[in-house]
């Protein structure tokens, strides 16, 4: 068994490990050395391992594997608790799963109303309902209703299905939401009514009504384990096959197959890029056309500068005509200067970015130090460790030089 460590001690250990690694990486500022290389490999390995773990845990497993291998079901009702309804009791002996099932006598209470059900069902395609009948009622029928209030339209909707009672014992009803239900009103949220899945939300009640034949037959119905399911999305298996095609590039005989996968990906990319260009660059081009006249003076000056810069920079990149004529050469030259000005700004911002990274590390090293001493002492402590590590780096560099000289 692993020893238990107090949380504050663990956090302190993490801090000091972080501080050691940060300062060790910074020894590159002296020279390339073994300590730096060791920690660099440590960081790269950590990042790759973490990335791989997240890719499996957050992407492949829930989005791909579970979609293929599970029904992605959600519980509507498990009937494990005693109902407070007329004509219904909890039966702990006859059940499908869990602690029990509900024993319903339609003769006593022909209409069963369940109001304590989850309101949000996600994006189900079908329902799985377990029912048990103790005798066959040939012309018997149970009407199953889902009542909901659509959050978008704020109007009620009802989904109705018929369940025949021509069976004895447990039977699983699989009810397709699109095929087996008669729909009154609009149950799905408008915005999500795209593609295969639709969200059912605002469910406020489920209803089960026995027809006169069932009531008169004196049949007893058991209810257990009701679920809404998305279903097995087996077609995701093709994604795996398609992904494998990329690796055929490693086998010269089958390398042509990789081009198939690549060409589809390129086609998708090209199509999406076209749409992306219109959506992204279109508004920017439109906003580049600015009025210089008929606007307040300040705006006019601003707009004039904007338009001048735009035209000059575009002229610089206009290679269809040789830049010999003064009308082309002068704005092109100005365009080049303006570009260099922009690169200067980018460089300045880069310097600022690098300083910010260092400031972030200083904040970690000095101000987030868990020791209860003054900031000055914390800084002194960090400087001492830094000095020791830089000395180690110096020794490492010297040793490598000596080794090189010897060989």
């Amino acid at each position: 068994m692993l020893p238990t460590i107090a949380e504050d001690r663990l956090l302190a250990a993490i801090y000091w490990l972080g501080a050691f690694c940060t300062l060790g990486i910074l020894t590159i500022l002296y020279a390339e050395n073994r300590l730096y290389r060791l920690l660099e490999h440590f960081f790269i390995g950590l990042a790759v391992g973490y990335g791989l773990f997240i890719a499996i845990r957050d992407v492949l497993e829930p989005v791909w594997w579970r979609a293929m291998m599970t029904e992605s079901s959600g519980v509507i009702a498990n009937f494990d608790k005693s109902p407070n309804l007329k004509g219904v009791v909890l039966d702990r002996t006859i059940k499908r799963e869990g602690d029990g099932a509900w024993r319903w006598s339609p003769r006593e209470s022909p209409r069963l109303l369940l109001t304590k059900v989850p309101t949000d069902w996600g994006t189900p395609n079908y329902l799985r309902l377990w029912l048990r009948s103790d005798k066959v009622v040939p012309d018997g029928m149970l009407t199953f209703r889902i009542r909901l209030r659509n959050p978008d339209t704020q109007k009620d909707a009802v989904l109705t299905a018929q369940l025949p009672t021509n069976f004895v014992g447990w039977r699983q009803f699989v009810l397709d939401l699109r095929r087996d239900f008669r729909i009154t009103g609009e149950p799905y949220r408008r915005f999500e009514k795209v593609g295969r899945y639709r969200v059912l939300s605002g469910v406020n009640a489920l209803e089960l009504i026995a027809n006169p034949a069932v009531q008169q037959a004196g049949v007893v119905i058991h209810l257990d384990d009701w679920r809404h399911c998305i279903g097995y999305r087996w077609w995701w298996a093709f994604a795996f096959v398609w992904g494998l095609l990329f690796y055929t590039v490693l086998i010269p005989r089958f390398a042509w197959m990789s081009r198939m996968a690549l060409s589809v990906l390129m086609g998708l990319g090209a199509g999406y890029t076209f749409k992306a260009f219109v959506l992204e660059a279109g508004p920017q081009i439109y906003s580049s056309i600015k009025p210089v006249l008929g606007v307040p003076f300040k705006t006019a000056v601003n707009n004039a500068i904007f338009v001048t810069v735009l035209l000059c920079v575009m002229t610089y990149f206009f290679f269809s005509i040789e830049h010999r004529h003064p009308a082309i050469r002068a704005p092109a030259r100005l365009g080049r200067w303006l570009l260099m000005l922009t690169f200067g700004i980018v460089f300045g911002n880069t310097v600022m970015g690098r300083f910010s990274l260092f400031i972030g590390r200083l904040d970690f090293l000095i101000l987030q130090n868990p020791l209860t001493i003054s900031v000055a002492w914390k800084a002194l402590l960090v400087m001492t460790i830094a000095f020791a590590l830089f000395f180690l780096a110096y020794l490492s560099v010297r040793w490598e030089r000596q080794k090189r000289r010897a060989t």
Binding site: F191, T350, V351, S356, L357, L367
Partner: protein, 281 residues
Amino acid sequence: MEDFAHWLVRFQDIDRRYIYLAVAATLTLPIVLQLRMPQIPTPPTQAAFKAVENVPDEKVVLIAADFDTGTVGENGPQLRTVLEHLMRRKKKFVILSLIAPQGVTIAELYSRTIGEKYGYKYGRDYVNLGYLPGGAPTLERMGRSVWETFPTDTKRIPLSELPMMRQVRSAQDIGLVAIFTGSGVLPSYVQTFWAQFKVPLIEGCTGIIVPELFPYLEAKQLVGILPGLKGAAEYEALLQQNGLGMRGMVAQSVAHALVIILILLGNLGMWLSRRPSAQRL
């Protein structure tokens, strides 16, 4: 004067490690002395602040933590201050990342630590949807149905079981997208959330990509920007908060002054060394 000119010429051959040391010292001293300087918020930061203020109460904010530890020095303070703002105004938020698995972990850590102060509870006030690659198509799908795109959160809890997510189904339920990144992930959000779903965007970016963002700001595709650490400091000033942005800006400014002086001295030295009389130096 002659000595100074001589020194300037020789200064060009200075070992770069002395410069590193000087920069490290100028960055460290203001941090240790905990100096502060006033910040005047620029219009892009003010606009970002206003956009957060204007998020309707019934809608959530989408926090796109598309950064990793490499840019946490800039994106970290930005995200912290925006989260602080959201929590002060009791706004709910959803965290996700398209390109950086570490980003969502960092964002959740910040949410937890800041949230303790404001009584924020996971699942009720904020949710971490995690990392899902795929760029614009993923966002487009998410905009149409959040539940389809993210079956569970990072803790494997189905979204239907998270009280907050019952109200968050599509882009219609998102009032603002706040992107924090050091990469060019913005186009994906512009093409989807801005262009298709009409959700306003703000971005906290690293200093290096600030110039690239101004066309987006000009076209109103971005409502506001938090440019680098300065953006974080300005936002903190608007929030009257004393965070890492404010702490870092003195160090940033002093170090910038040092760099400018070094550039001037270096150029002066180079100019002096090229003069004919410099051959004698």
